[in-house]
């Protein structure tokens, strides 16, 4: 019998027959619970099973498709999630709305295993609310047999030679980022005049673009529908690895986007002790390494590195070298400017 029925008067009514023998959820004999809200494929099943076996805590995992969904859920105050994994800019919003707990560092044995490069970021200074979990980049994936020379610049996305073979992420901030980086500016530029001028460049680029797509870009590149594709590294790395050298992924020399997804404890969660046990669990180098090996995203646990499969650890699309990382920048919450960018993006998409 699933415990959700207990907290559900309607379910209880409907399933009174089979639920009648159950005790209240607060009964001491009840196994401990942990409700995890996470991106798909972020937590291998066998790792989760080990956590349950070791701690005796029963986990329930739900998945979401966007950071905005996390925000809406946590704002309602009635979502029972003990663990959530938002991305950088959303984490900042969650903190400012008091939707996530401040962490007690004395209960986070293993915190020192984390890679300092991903700590103390602007979205959560001193990591008072979060621990970094996985990270990645945005760049260009391309078909090496269809381009004249290896691509190393965002300029390729604006190169008339690739007319009709270019894919752009259907994401305002990422698209604006390509032009801003080409012009040597920050991804987080807020000057309206600059942003308007960037929008003009993107409007002109539209004639070269085959499609705007944020969900299927690696597939379209693999299938040969496009030859130069703007995209995030996770799927690109997968496509590159299975292409036998035909495809490549690069973070352009002008610099790309860095993203970091962090683990937080929502204030509306009610199983704080179990949540801390989970945090300590994923901070363990062996566990962190198994997670990376299972999900093929770069983890933020430095002590785990030697235990990660060599093919993954040495894949520059997953673990880019330091000089590439130095060129990358986090997307920040731009506050009121977000509206202007959304407006300009709509204009770009609607332009003919």
């Amino acid at each position: 019998m699933k415990p959700w029925i207990l907290s559900a008067p309607l379910g209880l009514l409907l399933l009174a027959g089979c639920g009648a023998g159950e005790k209240a959820a607060e009964a001491p004999k009840e196994p401990r619970q942990l409700n995890i809200y996470i991106w798909t494929n972020y937590l291998p099943q066998d790792v989760l099973a080990d956590f349950e076996k070791r701690t005796g805590i029963k986990t329930r995992v739900d998945t979401y498709d966007s950071n905005e969904t996390i925000l809406a859920k946590l704002q309602s105050g009635v979502a029972d999630y003990d663990i959530a994994v938002p991305s950088d800019y959303m984490l900042k919003a969650l903190i400012s709305e008091n939707l996530v707990r401040e962490l007690d560092r004395s209960r986070l044995q293993g915190f020192e295993n984390l890679d300092p490069r991903f700590l103390n970021q602007k979205f959560d200074p001193e990591n008072r609310h979060s621990i970094p979990y996985v990270w990645g980049t945005a760049g260009i994936g391309y078909d090496t047999t269809k381009v004249a020379a290896p691509i190393d610049s965002w300029g390729a996305l604006f190169d008339p030679r690739y007319k009709g073979r270019i894919l752009m992420l259907d994401d305002a901030r990422e698209a604006f980022g390509t032009v801003l980086k080409l012009q040597g500016k920050s991804l987080n530029e807020t000057d309206p005049a600059v942003l308007r001028q960037v929008a003009e460049v993107l409007k002109k680029q539209k004639a070269l673009v085959r499609t705007y797509n944020s969900s299927d870009f690696a597939n379209l590149l693999t299938a040969g529908d496009v030859d130069v594709a703007h995209g995030w590294n996770g799927e690109m790395a997968e496509a590159v690895a299975s292409s036998k050298g035909k495809l490549a992924y690069v973070v352009p020399k002008e610099g790309g986007t860095l993203w970091i997804d962090s683990v937080v404890l929502p204030t509306s969660g009610r199983n704080t002790d179990a949540a801390y046990e989970f945090l300590r669990f994923v901070l363990e180098p062996e566990i962190a390494a198994r997670i990376v090996n299972g999900i093929h995203y770069a983890g933020a646990n430095r002590a785990a590195l030697p235990k990660i499969d060599e093919a993954i650890r040495n894949d520059p699309a997953i673990y880019p070298p330091q000089e590439v990382l130095d060129r990358c920048e986090l997307l920040e919450d731009l506050g009121p400017t977000t509206e202007l960018i959304d407006e300009l993006w709509t204009e770009i998409k609607a332009a003919s």
């Binding site: 498709d65 597939n219 379209l220 799927e235």
Partner: protein, 270 residues
């Protein structure tokens, strides 16, 4: 001389081609979906060879299977509740003595007209205000909210075509209100009730927008799960599960048609 004949043949031919295209248009995407569930490649776009691997993985993918179970459970409960409530509402709205009929009908149809996003956000706010923890229950409640309108509308249309004399005759012959309903009204409106139940099941099982707002712990449905996979790429496991659901639906529809044929031929004999 044979102008009209050949014109007839021509139009028939054009119609046949037209029909073929319509069926292709409807079925090719579904066929592609099913075919790619047997594809060796992880990516959905290129055919690499035949395998049953995705079906094996599907059976081991607890998250995806749980999502399917959630979807089926929610759809079944929603269908049951919405069909009963919607049918009762339609019956009540038919009686002239029901107070505030016009207003009630307008309110009942409101969930059909408001954008789903608004409905989802409103329900989430309501649940938050009530302190009702998000779970499968809140998902079922939300689905019932937007489904009842469809049931009421479909059953109302069926009731409008019902001859009141039949029910009066039943009462004249000594049947009580409940017996009249059970033996006269319900059998007559049953096709409408069944059709609306199917409609609700379909609406519920593929609803994404409202569900994404009100789903809580342990209530990720199949649409939510598939959308959440987009970030890392949809694997052919989703094709596999869709193909299985499709096959299940076809079996159910064929079974239902058989049953209806049997019961209607029995009805003819009596």
């Amino acid at each position: 001389m044979n102008g009209p004949v050949s014109a007839g043949r021509w139009s028939r031919r054009v119609l046949a081609v037209h029909t073929a295209f319509i069926y292709l248009f409807l079925w090719v995407p579904i066929g592609v979906l099913a075919v790619f569930s047997f594809n060796t490649g992880r990516q959905t776009a290129v055919w690499r060879g035949f395998t049953l691997d995705w079906y094996h993985r599907l059976l081991a993918n607890e998250a995806l299977l749980a999502a399917v179970r959630n979807s089926l459970l929610v759809a079944a409960l929603t269908t049951l509740l919405a069909t009963v409530i919607g049918t009762l509402a339609a019956l009540a709205l038919r009686r002239p003595e029901t107070p505030g009929r016009g207003g009630t009908l307008a309110l009942l149809l409101l969930p059909m007209v408001i954008p789903e996003v608004v409905l989802g956000a409103a329900l989430l706010t309501l649940f938050g205000a009530l302190g009702l923890r998000l779970s499968l229950t809140t998902v079922v409640i939300a689905h019932v909210v937007f489904s009842v309108s469809y049931v009421t509308l479909v059953v109302r249309a069926r009731l409008a075509g019902l001859d009141p004399a039949l029910e009066e005759a039943a009462r004249d012959l000594g049947a009580g209100p409940f017996e009249t309903f059970r033996r006269v009204t319900l059998p007559l409106i049953f096709p409408g009730v069944a059709a609306s139940a199917l409609l609700v099941f379909t609406l519920s099982i593929d609803d994404y927008v409202v569900t994404s707002f009100v789903a809580g712990v342990g209530s990720t449905t199949l649409p939510l799960h598939v959308y959440s996979m987009l970030r890392v790429g949809v694997t052919p496991e989703v094709n596999a599960v869709s193909t299985l659901l499709l096959a299940g639906t076809i079996v159910l529809i064929v079974a239902a048609q058989r049953l209806m044929r049997v019961s209607s031929s029995e009805g003819d004999r009596t």
